[in-house]
């Protein structure tokens, strides 16, 4: 009797351990797991005064001012692979009584132009600056070109200028990055 009890109990218990199973699961779904964060990040900003557009020493107008910055995260291999869409948002506040043309030229490490965009800024007055907003949505094949770039050249062009010109052109900007890992 004593031994009769041992075997069945042990057998049931051990078989329970052996026949334990994992079911109703589908691990292939792991392939479909995708992180899709949407990241808001500041880009560049500047404050240009009217005096930036006039060379007071040589008494000549400067019609185009240019500056360049690296944005090295953009051509990072991970970003190249994961970036699906980028929405650029530029907000100009123009207190200079001139309209402007602003060019954004994205360059690769070897200074090849990979992507460009351009906008016009409405003229304002020092007392009453005018806001111009510009949005650029980059997606599809353009993303490949954009993420080939590691720097951006910003050129601001004024149609005419003189030494009495007054006011400030301000830019604030941000980018919304749609990523998928």
């Amino acid at each position: 009797m004593k031994k009769n009890l041992l075997l069945p109990v042990a057998a049931v218990f051990v078989s329970l351990l052996f026949f334990a199973c994992v079911k109703d699961t589908d691990f292939d779904q792991a392939e479909d797991i995708a992180l899709t964060p949407v990241i808001e990040l500041d880009l560049i900003y500047f404050n240009l005064t009217a005096s930036n557009f006039f060379d007071s020493i040589n008494n000549t107008p400067i019609l185009t001012v240019t500056d360049t910055t690296d944005i090295r995260f953009l051509d990072d291999a991970q970003i190249q692979e994961s970036l699906r869409r980028a929405d650029f948002y530029f907000k100009f506040s123009n207190g200079i009584p001139r309209s402007f043309q602003v060019d954004f030229q994205f360059l690769s490490e070897t200074n090849d132009t990979t992507y460009t965009t351009q906008t016009n800024v409405t003229q304002g007055t020092p007392q009453d600056p005018v806001i111009t907003e510009f949005e650029e949505v980059v997606e599809g094949d353009d993303i490949t070109r954009l993420t080939a770039a590691s720097k951006v050249v910003v050129s601001v062009t004024i149609p005419s200028s003189n030494e009495t010109l007054e006011g400030t052109l301000n830019l604030q900007s941000k980018t919304t990055y749609y990523l998928e890992f």
């Binding site: 109990v9 351990l17 109703d24 990040l41 500056d67 360049t68 944005i71 604030q172 900007s173």
Partner: protein, 471 residues
């Protein structure tokens, strides 16, 4: 490093509240019960474990999520399920894995009636708290969370791989009271921890600021302390890493000291109380220590272009490099090699047992050698409490049990445990004494064995010993 991560994930995948051995605690037939309460009763005259087979314990769990929750067959998209889980889980939810493998275990009763026991076991212990805010940030990004302060301090994790050498004494000092103590020497092979972190990250719409947003890391202080990792970096391949780590098993790494204490008290001859405190100890990490600390406050608002007048052939200012330098200056990541001490996770057990049924073994109602002590009976019921001190808070489990000795050869213990993982954890342990051969196996969460994927935690203990009973 990648091999190590794979190992950790594999261990986690294969394997309740960590280290709760509710099925073995208080079961005198199993010599390893003395490791759970050095002041437990040891009825045998002598025992030794079969090397490498005397005790294997594996256990893994996740308090907030099961495999089924994520990978179960369902019409709901897996990403939606993950997202729902991220929002459902709390930052006090955790993932944990523990493994113990006994190399040697022995014990004997000396002439002065003190029971000595000792041995060596290897232990792996890992806990990772769910950093909810960072998970949201990674899953969703910051666009929909403007002004929300993501808590960087939710990062809290520890991991240890060590060998433990122990030696304990146990004595019945009065008819009713048995006490015991066990000294432990820890030989840490590899260890890391990141606890007590602080800081927040927030993106706010700039109000009168220079750019559209302000991205601010506020009062960050995030530390990762490691010991035994730095020297692995120069090694090549998994086999070299494995050899190096295992080479530290016998005092090749860092050393620590600890103490277990326990007692059993027979309140009446059928009511017994017991309690133990385990791993009251510290490991001193001084060899091969490398710690990383990032601290500071910084607000990012983009890159300001200042359009300097350009001379031909001369580049503009290195804005991006300057920005990187500024961030490194404001939130420096320091690498320290200062030694540090680490408290072992303290564990507390308590139990109350009521015995009933047929009288078994030696000692009857009128056993002159045992006038006030308890009388062994073939059945008992009781409650047990277990608590382990983890970085954020103690994790506690409560167990009700029924124990029955079927024959001299076979005993069983069934448990019902309520812990952070679930309130329906049923476990069963069996002990067989066949001649001098002792075998035990215990597993919990049996209700989930029909589909392990639905279990949030599992634990399994088994082992083989040779026991010599009192003449």
């Amino acid at each position: 490093m990648r091999d190590l991560v794979t190992c950790i994930i594999a261990l986690w995948a294969f394997t309740s509240i960590a280290q709760n051995k509710q099925l073995i605690y208080g079961v005198e037939e199993i010599p390893q019960s003395l490791l759970l309460n050095p002041g437990g009763k040891a009825p045998q005259r002598m025992h030794f474990g079969i090397p490498f087979l005397s005790h294997l314990h594996v256990n893994g769990g996740a308090s907030g999520v099961s495999v089924y929750d994520i990978f179960g067959k369902s019409n709901v998209d897996i990403n939606t399920r993950i997202r729902n889980k991220i929002f459902e889980m709390e930052n006090t939810d955790f993932f944990t894995a523990t493994e113990q493998l006994e190399l040697i275990n022995f014990g004997w009763r000396a002439k002065n009636d003190i029971f000595f026991s000792g041995g060596i076991y290897q232990e792996f212990d890992f806990v990772f708290y769910f950093p909810k805010d960072l998970a949201i940030l990674a899953w969703e990004g910051n666009r929909d969370y403007l002004d929300y302060e993501f808590d960087l301090g939710e990062v809290s994790t520890t991991g240890d791989f060590m060998t433990v050498f122990h030696f304990g004494t146990n004595k019945q000092i009065t008819d009713k009271l048995t006490v015991g103590a066990r000294a432990k020497l820890y030989s840490s092979m590899i260890s890391y921890r990141s606890t007590n972190n602080t800081g927040t990250f927030v993106t706010r719409l700039g109000d009168g600021s220079v750019n559209i947003y302000e991205h601010t890391v506020q009062n960050a202080n995030v530390t990762v302390e490691t010991s035994g990792f730095a020297s692995l970096r120069d090694l090549d391949g998994a086999s070299q890493v494995t050899n190096e780590i295992l080479g530290r098993a016998f005092f090749g790494g860092n050393i620590g000291l600890g103490l277990d204490l326990g007692a059993t008290y027979d309140i009446t001859n059928n009511l017994t109380a017991s309690a133990s405190v385990l791993d009251l100890g510290t490991i001193f990490h001084s060899n091969d220590v490398e710690s990383y600390q990032a601290s500071g406050t910084y607000t990012l608002d983009g890159i300001e272009l200042i359009f300097p007048p350009l001379v031909d052939g001369q580049g503009t200012l290195p804005y991006y490099d300057d920005l990187e330098d500024e961030i490194e200056r404001e939130i420096p990541i320091d690498t320290l090699t200062n030694s540090y001490t680490q408290m072992r996770p303290l564990k507390i057990n308590g139990g109350l047992t009521y015995k009933f049924g047929r009288i078994v073994g030696k000692g009857g109602e009128c056993d002159c050698r045992n006038p006030g002590g308890s009388i062994d009976r073939n059945q008992s019921v009781g409650i047990q409490l277990y608590s382990i001190f983890r970085p954020k808070a103690p994790q506690t489990a409560a167990t009700a049990f029924y124990y029955r000795r079927f024959t001299d050869y076979l005993s069983a213990k069934a448990t019902y445990t309520v812990d952070p993982y679930s309130s329906s954890n049923v476990g069963l342990g069996l002990v067989a004494d066949i001649g001098k051969f002792n075998f035990y196996i215990a597993a919990d969460n049996l209700l989930r064995y029909g589909n392990l994927a639905k279990a949030k935690s599992l634990s399994l203990q088994l082992g083989f010993n040779i026991k010599f009973d009192e003449e």
